[in-house]
Amino acid sequence: MSDLLELRRPSSPLIRRRGRASAFLKEFGFGYVLLAPVVLYIVAFQFYPLAETIRLSLFDYSLISGRGMSFNGFGNYKELLLNDSNFWSIFWNSLVWVLGSTVLQFAIAIPAALVLFNKIRLRGLWRGLMMVPWVSPVVIIGIVWKWIYDGHYGLFNHYLKALGIISENIVWLGDEKWVWPALLLTSAWKGFPYITLMMLSGLTGISREMIEAAHMDGASAWQRFVRITLPMLKPIMYATGLVSIVSSWTKFEMIWALTNGGPGYSTSILPTYLYTNSFVYFDLGRGSAIATLSMAIVLILVGVYARTFGRNLE
């Protein structure tokens, strides 16, 4: 009898906790099991290497100096920020690369999306063809454009001369004045289809009735675009811009294929500088410091972007 009473008595805190845990596992356990591989992957291949990179950036560690590994505090950062004559020019190059690529991609993508949104003949085909640069491997595109820009045999010079625009070949990738426009054009060509695609999806979501109502009220095409279409596209432009900034920041292969970041470091960006220091000069401490700074800078950039463009999106 007493045993039965004991069983019916309200459970102890430990049993209650066990009961809650059991109920929780019953309700969410399977979901956590499904999530576990991804979480483990992120911890193992994202967070741990990240932490390890930050740790290594605090060491003087060159694989070929023969000195071994020694704690250096913020020595690598101090060296980069205060004594490295290349670092700040490379930092500015990175900003030019990211902002220039993103702005240019939008400048091409928005008109392209508007054209491809209209009921033009063979619209599906044009939409498919538009995606070709985006789905092609970056290195292949880099090599093709390198040939196009070639100062001796290049197609670009050939056609510009044929059209009478230039009389003498320009060494596009070797000329201080032209190298950045050439790089940005290539980057924009490669990246604009993605933004066009996103804009197309945004345009699909805009109410036709609203546009027609504005039309009925006498709004011109430009007014309809500026007052209705663009504001309605703002949320998707914001998200796409964010992705574009981050992907341009790490789009290292394009510059590497076109100029190797040179001559010298004149077209290097932080990821190419990181690659050179780590895998060409084998200075892992310095390379890690560049990686950490690069990560911090892109976070700041994204933060500024979010504050500037991320408000009033509703």
Binding site: F45, S62, E176, A291
Partner: protein
């Protein structure tokens, strides 16, 4: 930190950096070598020079890092693989084809992550030794009954593979940097090859060849490695090592920079962005008359235009104003194995096979000059006829030129710690100098500052 932990940490850090640069890329070629046996071969072979092993039963997958990217070099590699398969049926060779430029980067990651290949071709072993990657081959050479002897190699070639008395590679080819001249263009410009004795003569020849859309000289400035190599080659003939920024060498340095400044007028503007492929293409098409290249010349131009081989000659880069004589720096292309390789005895066996008359003569037929004394010149030429049927006469002439210049003007090539970083410094300043953005003195001052900083860092 224990060795295993340290390696794990370095491997992770490298992986983290790689992820930071470009995301998680695949590396199909690094696959999982199935190392079945070979381990049993190691112990017994150490004392006997490998004779006690029944090689027909030894099993292994051997990974061979092979930076021969021309068609002829790839064919040679495949021939070796097939022949070894016949001889050792259970040994599979898996090549990792990479360019010389990419090879060291790949190896650094592989070594530090413990994913060590078995064999590699080498030129400058300095960085691989500093990465603690290569096996000292002295004990292997010293074993009784070994077929490969140190005295089998041409003088100078062995030294290039040594560091602190240890030998890290078996030299296969003598590799030399020289001046390649389109003799036909030179003659048409009114000069003879024998007249190219000094830098002034080179400038004169370049000027004479520059006409009708053709240029006298082609210096590839677009890739740091080659932007450094060309003045490095010329500087030897001015008794200067390009990393020497001492006060005593200043005048030689200034002369070297001035020489390239003088040549600039006789080069296509596009050379600012050229690498070797563009330089070889322009030379092969008869658009430039002289390039600084080397023993690997025929392999690189034959597929573009075989006829160019028949009109090409090679000489040591002529004497500079402060030089005592024309000099050609000689290094080697060799084969090496890794300290932490799991199939070292098999690797050594394959290195011996790779260095045998059969393959060394094929290699020399493709890439020109053997480092092994016993390799027959007749056999090299007969194999070259198969490799370069459309240009065999020209190729024979080049072989003779190389043999002659190596004997008369060959000097051991110096190994420069931190060279990769110095290459970028030199490239940057050469571009500024040749595009009139700075004077010779300013270029020198900036090169000196950059190189001295790198030296201080590595001290």
């Amino acid at each position: 930190m224990s060795r295993g932990k340290k390696r794990f940490a370095i491997g992770t850090a490298l992986m983290a950096l790689a992820l930071a640069v470009s995301g998680c890329g695949s590396s199909g070629e690094s696959g999982n070598a199935n190392r079945a046996s070979g381990g049993s071969a190691e112990a017994s072979a150490a004392a006997t020079g490998g004779d006690a092993i029944d090689w027909s039963t030894v099993k292994a997958d051997i990974r061979f890092v092979y930076p021969g990217t021309s068609e002829a070099e790839k064919e040679l590699a495949e021939q070796f693989k097939a022949r070894m398969k016949e001889k050792y049926p259970n040994i599979n060779i898996e090549y990792m084809y990479l360019s010389w430029t990419d090879m060291e980067k790949k190896l650094s990651v592989m070594l530090n992550s413990g994913d060590v290949p078995d064999l590699t071709q080498t030129q400058d072993v300095t960085n691989l030794v500093r990465l603690n990657g290569l096996e000292d081959l002295n004990p292997y050479f010293e074993r009784e009954g070994e077929t490969l002897k140190k005295e089998d190699f041409l003088p100078g070639t062995m030294e290039y593979a040594q560091e602190d008395g240890k030998l890290y590679a078996v030299p296969n080819l003598a590799n030399s940097f020289t001046l390649i001249v389109n003799e036909k263009m030179l003659n048409e410009a009114g000069m003879k090859l024998e007249e190219l004795q000094t830098w002034e003569d080179v400038e004169r020849a370049a000027a004479a060849m520059t006409k009708d859309g053709k240029y006298g000289f082609g210096y590839p400035l677009g890739t740091a490695r080659f932007a450094f190599r060309v003045p490095f080659t010329a500087a030897y003939s001015n008794d200067l090592l390009l990393s020497d920024t001492s006060e005593g060498s200043k005048s030689k340095y200034l002369e070297t920079l001035q020489h390239f400044k003088n040549l600039e007028a006789y080069q296509p503007k596009a050379h600012l962005t050229w690498g070797y492929p563009e330089m070889f293409r322009a030379y092969s098409n008869g658009e430039v008359g002289m390039i600084a290249a080397g023993t690997f010349f025929t392999a690189n131009v034959y597929s573009i235009n075989p006829d160019i081989v028949n009109v090409s000659r090679t000489i040591a880069y002529p004497k500079g104003p402060s030089g005592t004589a024309a000099k050609a720096p000689v290094s080697n292309v060799g084969i090496a194995m890794f300290k932490d390789g799991k199939n070292k005895e098999i690797a050594w066996r394959l290195m011996q096979e790779w260095s045998s008359q059969e393959f060394n003569s094929t290699m020399a037929a493709v890439v020109n000059v053997t480092a092994i004394k016993s390799t027959s010149l007749d056999e090299i030429i007969s194999k070259a006829e198969k490799a370069y049927p459309k240009a065999i006469e020209g190729h024979k002439t080049l072989l003779n030129d190389f043999s002659k210049l190596l004997g008369e003007s060959g000097v051991p090539m110096d190994k420069i710690p931190g060279q990769s970083e110095m290459e970028v410094v030199v490239q940057e300043q050469m571009v500024k100098l040749l595009t009139d953005k700075e004077t010779v003195e300013e270029a020198y001052a900036n090169i000196k500052e950059g190189i001295d900083k790198i030296k201080a860092k590595l001290e």
